[in-house]
């Protein structure tokens, strides 16, 4: 017997195991039911991560802007106080000089 016949003998057709067709039918039916039953999440995990990252960046930017605005307002207030004090001092000095 040559190698061709031996290989034909070794590779004879094989029947699928019992219940194979039923298992295929069950698998064909399964994904459709699963897709119907399971509600799809509104966001995927990468989208949720990206959204969280964006929220962190935006909130820290807003916080920085708020801090800068507060600092600017404080500096403005200090300047006005200094000007008020200075003009008050100048007026007092002028009054004193005039009275002499």
């Amino acid at each position: 017997m040559n190698i061709d016949d031996r290989l034909r003998g070794a590779l004879r057709p094989v029947a699928p195991p019992d219940g194979f067709a039923d298992r295929v039918r069950a698998r064909v039916a399964r994904p459709t039911q699963a897709r119907r039953a399971r509600p799809r999440p509104p966001f995927s995990v990468p989208m949720a991560l990206a959204a969280s990252l964006a929220a962190v960046v935006l909130s820290s930017t807003a916080w920085l802007a708020h801090e800068q605005r507060v600092a600017r307002e404080q500096a403005h207030e200090q300047l006005l106080t200094a000007l008020r004090v200075t003009s008050h001092e100048l007026r007092a000095l002028e009054t004193r000089l005039t009275s002499r």
Partner: protein, 149 residues
């Protein structure tokens, strides 16, 4: 046909069944693309061949050895069970694509042109794979026979 191709390729009944099920589930999804009974046979062979090659490449070497301990029932009894088992074991030593060419040639009785169309490769490549695989199998089988005697 589908299960047989997967089984002879993978030598593991569970993985072969998984692959065969995948092929039929995929067929169910592509039924609209099938134009004729001949096209259906071609489609099933092609998808079964490619999925079996992929599964064989993923298969652990140990799984193959484990699978060789048991054999499933074939539709015709083997003339020489020992020789059959030896040849099947030697087949697992061939690279995945070369093994599939041998399976398609000797299980499905396809000629090199049909195998080339299924696997999308040149006919001459199929012929050289077959020639090389048969030479390897012949050499290894005779080596084993020498060891046994």
């Amino acid at each position: 046909m589908v299960y047989g191709v997967a089984y002879h390729m993978l030598r593991d009944p569970a993985t072969a069944e998984e692959v065969a099920q995948d092929v039929f589930v995929s067929l169910h999804q592509h039924l609209g693309d099938i134009a004729s009974p001949a096209h259906l046979v071609f489609w099933l062979r092609r998808v079964a061949a490619h999925r079996s090659i992929d599964a064989a490449r993923r298969q652990r070497p140990r799984a193959k050895d484990e699978a060789l301990t048991g054999d499933v029932a074939c539709s015709r009894p083997a003339a020489d069970p020992l020789l059959t088992r030896t040849l099947r074991r030697l087949l697992t030593t061939l690279p995945a694509r070369a093994r599939m060419i041998v399976v398609l040639r000797y299980q499905e009785e396809l000629d090199p042109g049909e195998i080339a169309a299924l696997l999308a490769m040149p006919v001459n490549t199929v012929k050289s794979h077959l020639k090389r695989s048969l030479a390897v199998l012949r050499a290894r089988a005779s080596g084993l026979r020498r060891v046994r005697t």
